[in-house]
């Protein structure tokens, strides 16, 4: 809700309350996550960008998403994997009845 108040000169002004900021942040939380992934377009993108320009809390949330991404990027595949399972799959290939009989590939 936007609260309307009279300033000292009796002029109506709009004042953003704390609950309004929080509810806007909550409303945009899912879109913020999509914005981080570069998956927002059009009006939704504009709304989030405008919100970010004035919201330190959501800017901080973006930073935490970056940290999370960096932490997951550090989960590389192990160097010592036990080798391909292809040799184990060959018996399935040779025993499979759904395929046509194997043909030799001609090298081009």
């Amino acid at each position: 809700m936007i609260s309307l108040a009279n300033d000292r000169y009796g002029t109506m002004t709009t004042k953003r309350t704390d609950s309004q900021v929080t509810s806007a942040c909550e409303r945009l939380a899912v879109d913020l996550s999509a914005y981080f992934d570069g998956e927002l377009e059009g009006k939704a993108l504009g709304v989030v960008e405008q919100h970010l320009s004035g919201c330190a809390a959501c800017t901080e949330k973006l930073e935490k998403l970056k940290q999370l991404r960096a932490a997951m990027a550090g989960l590389s595949a192990p160097a010592s994997r036990r080798g391909s399972v292809l040799s184990l799959l060959r018996s399935e290939l040779q025993g499979g009845g759904a395929l046509k009989p194997p043909v030799k590939r001609t090298e081009s």
Binding site: D37, G38, E39, V103
Partner: protein
Amino acid sequence: MVMQETMSEPGVTQAADAGAAESHAHDHRLVAAFKNGDQAAFEELWLKYEQRVFHHCLRMVGDEQESQDLTQDVGVKVIRNIKNYEHTYAFYTWLYRITVNCCIDFLRKKRRHAQEVSLTPNSDDDGGEQASEHNIRDETFMPDKTLLNLELSDVMNRAIAQLSEKLRAIIVLKEVDGFSYEEIADILDCSRGTVKSRLFRARERLKELLEPYVLDS
């Protein structure tokens, strides 16, 4: 497969798209050859994706031997079901769908087995979202326990292991495999909106689990 990056340059995206299109076309040629009995075509196709399949399984189940077994299971399923693959979508979409389903089935069986031997009453099977988070809690992943000596990757792996199967699958598809929302929606056969909201929930849950350790408060 195009790695999504925020704020990517159009030229880079176009080049990446062209490369991805050629890759898809090559996959389709290999699949067609394989369906005609060319086993070497399957081998080439498999070796192209095997490491990624293994890596996905490893991030989902957390154990190397189990991941190796699951990778083999995926390969067997590809061989047995290749006749059902239609070219209406990319081969890797179909491959990853098999991979994700294999991992989720494995995790659910593991969870049910743990429930069967547990003395704790079971909750309803709601896709694992609550059950996996409450019945197979890693007792060593507690904020008051000393985990300072663990590497970040250990903490991260433990946190991922606390996610339900659905949330785990989506965070791995995005952050480990690098798929776009559209690709993930194709793989999981769900809407883009579902991908968006489920990914948000996965991140929120991970942030909660990691807050005491890695993220600045």
